[in-house]
């Protein structure tokens, strides 16, 4: 199965990268952009067929390794097998 973990700066935590991207987008003419938050996304393929178990597993991976929970939040979504990425 494939599971997606998104990791992003917690609310209130400074996001210098998001800030720089937002101002670059606005310089490029995307004036409607108000705010950008920059995070990471991980697509993890795991052996297993129980979505509940896979999700729980992925949460543990996020806590242990993928997210720095001091400053980052995360969420987990089971995508099913073979979900396509371009």
């Amino acid at each position: 199965m494939r599971v997606e973990v998104r990791v992003y700066p917690k609310a209130g935590v400074l996001d210098p990268q998001g800030k720089a991207i937002a101002s670059a987008l606005s310089r490029l003419g995307h004036r409607a952009v108000r705010d950008v938050r920059a995070g990471k996304v991980f697509f993890i393929d795991v052996d297993g067929s129980d979505p509940k178990a896979v999700e729980a597993d992925a949460r543990r991976m996020a806590e242990e390794l993928l997210a720095n929970t001091v400053i980052e939040g995360f969420d987990v979504r089971v995508l099913g097998a073979g979900t396509d990425l371009v």
Binding site: G12, V13, L14, P16, K19, L65, V70, I71
Partner: protein, 741 residues
């Protein structure tokens, strides 16, 4: 107006006496904003209330000192119309909570201290103390701290040229991250943190203010209760090195004009300390409209704005008639720059928010009348007596050497410094790995040497001697590259000062540093104190880090650590005593964490420094290395391994071979030189009053040592290539087995 409750006073870490003093200064009750300001200004971190009495003992003046302690950084003249500004800072508590951001923002903070003085930051050092590598979270901490220092320093383009890294269980729950930076400034263009000139605008520059780090200064002034690290997490600040780069370039461009009257970075306690200190130093007053402060989050209160520790911010006072010019430079660099207030002569700091006065406090008393404590000190424990017995003598000295070279404290640290850009700015003459870093000063023939040093195990055994030895070892390291020691900065890391044993350690270490500075003629020009490095009642070993700066008149004469040529002669300068206390050997190989601390003879240290500098200036040395952790055997091995050439020494010894090979007697250096220089060096040593024993010769592919004792001869005979492999690989091996990203 709300009445301040007892609870609020406690939450703000103010004692009853301190609160009474506030009432006396104000003649009324403070409001909450004012209470927050007092709390921050009177925190240990900002007020130095437990340390001030003792720090007064430091020698702080000298013919070259242009600025001593009290400003953002110390400044020392190096001739040619130039001066160096330098300082060291700790970011211990934040780094334990979030190692990457804690270390990164530590670098950011020290850089601002340097460039506010008008200096361009040229080089950083980092002095790191970690717990046992297998302690919980430790690999994560090591990795995060190193990445954080790299992430910030590399991005902003300031090389990290060296440091120290020690592992010991005493730091399992309280790591230390001390960072030093040095910048170069024209000696007639030094800027100070003063709010002068009534009517001059006060300008806020840099990142917007968020809620980060509120109570950071008070956090640095408390010990961790077990697992409290977790609860304190929301105060984590995130560094933005790109914004700091813009801030640095903009400030340096601005300093070329005459628009700036005074400038100060917003470090600990942010806008509070910067505004009060600038007004206090100048004896002026300021009015600030907090509604004008650029904020990152909605609904921020005056209390939050005053206490936020958001990074990459500066406060400056501009000349009224040059305000437009100043703002234009900041806007060119795409930075927020806003006039938020003006200088007054009221002697008060008056804060407005949305048209109301939210605080009105006298400026000077917050600093001048800050509490100062001569805290009780325990009597110094009796010095330990050596507990070494003949049956403890090793049977295989080569094996001991191998184990020492593989110990994380001695092993090569290139895993760390390869992650640091140590070449940007193209001034790096001596890269990390030598005794002291050396950078050239463009446009002159001069060179600057830098080294941070302290042996916490010596300090644990005897804080007075440990403090003195830190200065002596740093001076020796700097002299080994051929530089004359100029001045020091320091970062004094200790446990809870309210404990008499800790206070006794602190007082003794300060005395030791002071005495050594006087003996070596190096003033203290800046520094930092970090108390409360303590968890669940367990304090760190006393760790007064010393950052030494030295000057080479001719940088092309600098001396390197590695052996250079087969056939060169090797000499040991200084005296080796029968001392094994507090040595790496005793601790790592014998598992005994015990003293006593080695002796220190400051007059002899001075003579050694003078000799090394003179020999280097005459170009007589092929290599030089100070003898410290791991003793003579390790020092010899390091010269050989780095030079890629073996060596053979043989000497007679009255003392036990283990002391000779692995003891850490102070005041020694190992030098090599072409055989034709032997007579000149011997004569210089003799007239300089430094014992000099020719002990061997460079050459071959093995490291051979023979110590002829009274009864038997002890021999070490090891293959250099395999020692090198061990020494280079040990640290990587220990750390990379970690699951870190």
């Amino acid at each position: 107006m709300p009445v301040i409750t007892e609870e609020q006073i406690q939450e703000h870490n103010l004692s009853e006496d301190e609160y009474a003093r506030i009432l006396e200064i104000l003649g009324r009750e403070p409001n909450l904003v004012e209470l927050g300001i007092f709390s921050a200004m009177w925190s240990e971190h900002c007020s130095y209330k437990s340390s001030r009495v003792h720090l007064k003992k430091f020698p702080t003046t000298g013919p070259r000192v242009l600025q001593g302690p009290g400003e953002n950084a110390g400044v020392v003249d190096i001739g040619d119309g130039l001066a160096v500004a330098f300082k060291m800072e700790s970011h211990n508590h934040p780094s334990f909570i979030e190692p990457y951001q804690g270390a990164a923002t530590g670098v950011g903070g020290i850089l601002r201290d340097i460039f506010t003085m008008g200096a361009r930051p040229m080089a950083s050092l980092n002095s790191l103390r970690f717990g046992r590598i297998d302690a919980p979270r430790m690999k994560h901490l090591v990795d995060g701290v190193v990445r954080g220092i790299a992430g910030y320093g590399n991005c902003i383009g300031i090389p990290t040229l060296g440091g120290e890294t020690t592992f010991h269980r005493g730091y399992d729950e309280n790591i230390l991250v001390n960072v030093m930076n040095l910048g170069i400034v024209r000696s007639d263009r030094i800027f100070l943190g003063r709010a002068e000139g009534v009517g001059n605008p006060i300008v806020y520059v840099g990142s917007k203010t968020g809620r980060d780090g509120i109570h950071g200064a008070t956090m640095a002034s408390e010990e961790f209760a077990a697992d409290e690290a977790n609860q304190k997490r929301p105060t984590v600040q995130v560094g933005d090195p790109f914004t700091e780069k813009l801030l640095m370039e903009a400030c340096l461009e601005l300093f070329e004009t005459d628009a700036v009257v005074g400038i100060q970075d917003m470090g600990a306690a942010g806008l509070t300390s910067s505004s009060f200190e600038m007004a206090g130093r100048a004896g002026s007053g300021v009015e600030i409209d907090l509604s004008k402060v650029p904020v990152r989050e909605t609904g921020m209160t005056p209390y939050e704005i005053m206490l936020s520790e958001s990074q990459e911010r500066m406060l400056l006072v501009a000349r009224r008639d040059r305000l437009e010019q100043a703002l234009a430079i900041f806007h060119k660099w795409e930075l927020d720059a806003v006039e938020i207030g003006r200088v007054t002569d009221s002697g008060r700091v008056v804060l407005f928010f949305e048209g109301r006065i939210v605080a009105d406090l006298p400026a000077a008393p917050l600093a001048d009348r800050a509490p100062m404590y001569d805290r009780p000190r325990a009597a110094a424990p009796a010095p330990e007596t050596p507990r070494w017995r003949e049956e403890d003598e090793p049977s295989d000295y080569g094996d001991v050497l191998r184990r020492l070279l593989a110990s994380p404290n001695v092993a090569e640290k290139s895993w760390i410094w390869r992650q640091y850009d140590h070449m940007v700015q193209t001034n790096t003459v001596e890269r990390p790995g030598g005794d002291a870093a050396v950078l050239r000063v463009k446009g002159t023939k001069k060179g600057i040497a830098m080294k941070s040093d302290v042996n916490p195990f010596f300090c644990q055994a005897d804080p007075y001697r440990g403090g003195a030895i830190a200065v002596a070892e740093a001076a020796r390291s700097v002299a080994c590259v051929g530089a004359r020691p100029l001045a020091i900065t320091d970062c004094l890391n200790f446990g809870n000062p309210e404990k008499p044993e800790v206070m006794a350690q602190f007082e003794a270490a300060v005395r030791g540093i002071s005495d050594a500075c006087r003996a070596l003629d190096v003033p203290v020009v800046s520094g930092n104190v970090s108390f409360y490095n303590e968890t669940a009642g367990r304090a760190i070993p006393p760790t007064p880090t010393v950052g030494m700066v030295g000057l080479l008149d001719d940088v092309s004469r600098h001396v390197r650590l590695p052996f250079r040529r087969a056939g060169d002669r090797i000499a040991l300068l200084g005296t080796t005593h029968d001392e094994l206390g507090a040595s790496e050997f005793l601790r790592t190989v014998r598992g005994r964490d015990e003293g006593p601390c080695p002796e220190v003879d400051l007059a002899a240290e001075r003579r050694l420094v003078d000799l090394l500098v003179a020999l280097a200036a005459k170009g007589l040395l092929a290599s030089a290395h100070d003898v410290s952790d791991g003793g003579l055997a390790v020092a010899l091995a390091e010269c050989a391994m780095q030079g890629g050439v073996g060596a053979e020494i043989a000497l007679d010894s009255e003392i036990r071979p283990s002391s000779f090979l692995f003891g850490e007697s102070t005041g020694r250096a190992l030098v090599s030189f072409a055989p034709e220089n032997e007579a000149a060096i011997g004569a210089a040593a003799e007239s300089g009053g430094v014992p000099c024993g020719i002990v061997g010769t460079v050459g071959g592919g093995r490291l051979k040592m023979a110590v002829r004792g009274r009864t038997a001869t002890v021999v070490v005979d090891e293959d250099l290539a395999s020692l090198t492999k061990l020494w280079r690989g040990a640290f990587v091996h220990a750390i990379e087995s970690a699951d870190v990203l």
